[in-house]
């Protein structure tokens, strides 16, 4: 580095996170500038890409659409609107399997190759918290870190607890994934302008970017950009975090950045914090400035089966197979993930489309797909409990889940599990603990009603 970074912009975490694990970083694509994927012949855009109800289509078969044209929305339930990522003609609207295995409608659009932006798109100036919420909704924004929670719900000011700290999540603690890292490097001015927008609209005491210290270039780029803006220097901060999984988890980030603990069953706004993924912020600021909603995604395509790992900018709705064809695979992959190796989900097939939350596509060969792992009995070594960032005892919870012990599951607080995978990662008996945790949460949830 040329000169030491100014200490006025950098800040330190206030406490350490409990537990966690150290999986290999495998950030092989950190140096690869984002390439734009050649436009596919057709895209299929699912209408359920968020936590909440599927959207209802507002276009019909045969209709001409442009980049950014609204495809689907609804006002009667929690959702984030869906926009077209290409210009072309709607070919079909029909049921398809969406992320997480649920069935919802998808809109298939044949591309015309022009990528004409929708002529009706207008910049969306924001001057208040209400404007910001409206912008996030109109943009179709969801948590791009992988959770898919509609951003406008998150930004909604709470009457009881004013937001005093906004955390921009660039931790990217999952192995392999570098899409947020690349966003920090390639969209630095946009991100810092976005921080200004948040500052102006929500008026917090500070806006902090939380970023793991294995991304020195991104940290430097952000610090330099903020530094060049003396009037905001007092409000904007960059906080390098230890490279320790799962520092990107919302509750952990809030804890290490502010020392506050989000109570079980609550969201960060309950303790005066709001957490926004860094890529989400870039998309939001771009929408505010140009009116272009969320249509494309920066995706890390990597994994042991990939020949030429890189970051790709792909239209939402592109088949995963198109990404794999572009980067090349050694042999037909044995396992393909959407998301990182710790929390990503294994795909049923590669015809499934890229969705808003797809931050990575990882292809594994037979040698690395863990299908040969032998499940052994628990020896009570306690590694799962040591690794759990939420202070749970996964081995005990597995036992309670097997005997449907709702009362004890409630007593040990199984609901706070965020399925980060630290327990199963460290289990020497190779027990599928995350699966048991999901089962246990389901049992506890059903028992509550």
């Amino acid at each position: 580095m040329a000169k030491p970074l100014p200490s006025s912009v950098l800040c330190k975490p206030v406490c350490r996170a409990r537990g966690g694990v150290h999986p290999p970083h495998n950030k092989f694509t950190a140096q690869s500038a984002t390439q734009t994927l050649p436009l596919p012949a057709a895209v299929t855009i699912p209408l359920a890409q968020h936590i909440g109800a599927p959207c209802l289509p507002v276009v019909s078969v045969g209709q001409q659409v442009f980049v950014g044209t609204l495809l689907a929305d609804r006002t009667d339930a929690l959702c984030a609107p869906i926009h077209s990522s290409v210009s072309g003609t709607v070919k079909a609207i029909g049921p398809m399997i969406c992320a997480g295995g649920r069935l919802a409608d998808g809109v298939t659009i044949e591309t015309d190759g022009n990528q004409t932006p929708d002529p009706d798109l207008q910049p969306f100036p924001v001057s208040s918290a209400e404007d910001l919420v409206a912008a996030a909704r109109a943009c179709g924004l969801v948590g791009l870190g992988g959770a898919g929670f509609p951003t406008h719900i998150k930004l909604r000011p709470s009457p009881e607890q004013p937001i005093d700290t906004i955390l921009i999540n660039a931790a990217e603690c999952e192995p392999h994934i570098t899409s947020d890292d690349r966003a920090c490097l390639e969209d630095t001015p946009l991100i810092v302008r976005g921080m200004h927008t948040l500052l102006a609209a929500l008026q917090p005491k500070q806006v902090i970017v939380g970023i793991e210290n294995n991304k020195p270039k991104a940290i430097e780029a952000l610090v330099r950009e903020i530094e060049g803006n003396p009037d905001a220097e007092n409000w904007l901060r960059v906080m390098p975090l230890p490279s320790h999984y799962p520092h990107g988890a919302e509750k952990i980030l809030v804890q290490v950045a502010t020392g506050r603990r989000v109570p079980a069953g609550k969201i960060p706004s309950f303790v005066g914090c709001s957490v926004l993924n860094v890529s989400s912020l870039a998309v939001l600021q771009n929408f505010i400035e140009t009116g272009m909603p969320l249509t494309h995604r920066r995706i890390t395509v990597d994994g042991p089966a990939v020949i030429n790992p890189q970051n790709l900018l792909a239209p939402i709705g592109t088949a995963i197979q198109e990404l794999l064809d572009f980067v090349g695979v050694h042999e037909p992959p044995a396992k393909v993930l959407s998301g990182g190796p710790m929390m990503g989900s294994a795909l049923l097939n590669t015809a499934m489309p890229v969705v808003k939350q797809t931050n990575a596509v990882l292809a594994f060969d037979k040698k690395n797909d863990l299908s040969d792992r032998h499940q052994a009995p628990c020896i009570r070594c306690g590694r799962c409990a040591t690794a759990c960032p939420m202070s749970l005892m996964p081995t005990l919870i597995e036992r309670y889940a097997k005997i449907n012990d709702i009362e004890n599951l409630r007593r040990v607080g199984v609901g706070v599990c965020m399925e980060c995978g630290s327990c199963a990662y460290s289990c020497p008996a190779h027990r599928p603990l995350v699966q048991y945790m999901r089962l246990a949460k389901e049992i506890e949830r059903k028992g509550r009603t």
């Binding site: 037909p332 396992k335 294994a346 097939n349 590669t350 792992r373 628990c378 939420m390 289990c427 020497p428």
Partner: protein
């Protein structure tokens, strides 16, 4: 696209640290190696033979029981081998060759497999094997007849047995009277005793290896040894002697830290180790037996579920549920 149906679908995470049960048990065996070698050096080839008999018996019993119970073969996890070595190291070197076989039967068949195999036993198998032999064959196990290291066929009381019998009223006297129990000799294992317990140097080396490899946490051994030494010191005994004599180090490092029978959480581990230490000290000071390490560990093993229930950590962001009507 043709192969899309062949994709593996499994629950996350899709990475694993690579640790296995067999590797952990292998590390324990490696950590026991210095003690095994030293038992051979100190007590002769007979002790190595006894260890071999004990390990073989444990493996055979494990294999046969699993076969009869129609359960998958579990020899590969190496836990039976660990039990075999530990059982043998807890015996004096001049017991008859068939004694470890009886101990192995109790340990593997009764304590381990009858309760469901690895991870399910509620007490330490090797220790119950040893206690059973101690109760059933006192002539071999508790008499003042134990072999003295590096000598031929001479037997002598163990240092702790000597105190209990009143032969050696004060530690200071004993150190000055008996040439073969000076501090260094005791550290190196030149004293009568079970074949694996005498060489403290070898045991500490093994313990250090396990801590460095993070197979065990040092909490239980340190608290256990500290409690016993502290209490016996308060009551006027020599702390160094109490650490070196008897099975305290072997028990604290290798037996009390058995995963299955010790608490998982830090607080529980501390409570459990203090309990082990107190019971050992009480037996040493006022008990009818000269040694209490194995009894102390087994007693505390039984209390583990209760300790665990009382020391479960609060989950992240846990808030006490408000009582009804108290809003």
């Amino acid at each position: 696209m043709a192969d899309s149906s062949k994709l593996t679908v499994s629950a996350s995470p899709h990475f694993h640290c690579g640790e296995t049960t067999a590797a952990l048990m292998g590390d324990v065996l490696l950590a026991l190696l210095p003690a095994v070698v030293m038992s051979g050096v100190l007590f002769g080839w007979h002790s190595i033979l006894l260890i071999a008999v004990s390990v073989t018996a444990c493996l055979v019993f494990e294999y046969v029981t699993r076969l009869l119970l129609k359960r998958p073969n579990s020899l590969a996890d190496l836990s039976a081998a660990v039990t075999g070595v530990l059982l043998a190291l807890n015996l004096p070197s001049n017991v008859p060759w068939w004694l470890p076989i009886i101990g192995a039967f109790v340990a593997i068949v009764v304590v381990k497999q009858f309760f469901g195999g690895i991870g399910q036993n509620f007490v330490n198998p090797a220790l119950v094997g040893r206690i059973t032999l101690m109760v059933s064959f006192p002539q071999y196990m508790t008499a003042n007849q134990w072999a003295v290291p590096t000598t031929d066929a001479v037997t002598s009381a163990t240092p702790l047995a000597s105190i209990a019998n009143g032969d050696l009223p004060s530690i200071t006297e004993m150190f000055s009277k008996t040439a073969d129990v000076d501090p260094l000799s005791m550290f190196l294992g030149l004293r009568p005793g079970s074949m694996g317990e005498t060489c403290i140097a070898a045991l500490l080396l093994g313990g250090l290896y396990l801590c460095v490899r993070k197979v065990i946490s040092p909490v239980i051994p340190l608290v256990f040894m500290g409690t016993t030494v502290g209490i016996t010191w308060i009551f006027g005994q020599n702390p160094y002697y109490n650490l070196m004599a008897g099975g305290l180090v072997l028990g604290a490092v290798f037996m009390a830290t058995d995963y299955t029978t010790c608490p998982i959480n830090l607080k529980g581990k501390i409570v459990y180790a203090i309990g082990c230490g107190v019971i050992t000290a009480v037996i040493r000071l006022w008990g009818g037996m000269p040694e209490g390490v194995s009894i102390a560990i087994v007693l505390m093993n039984i209390l583990v579920p209760h300790i665990e229930k009382l020391t479960t950590p609060k989950p992240f962001g846990y808030v006490k549920e408000r009582k009804e009507g108290n809003v």
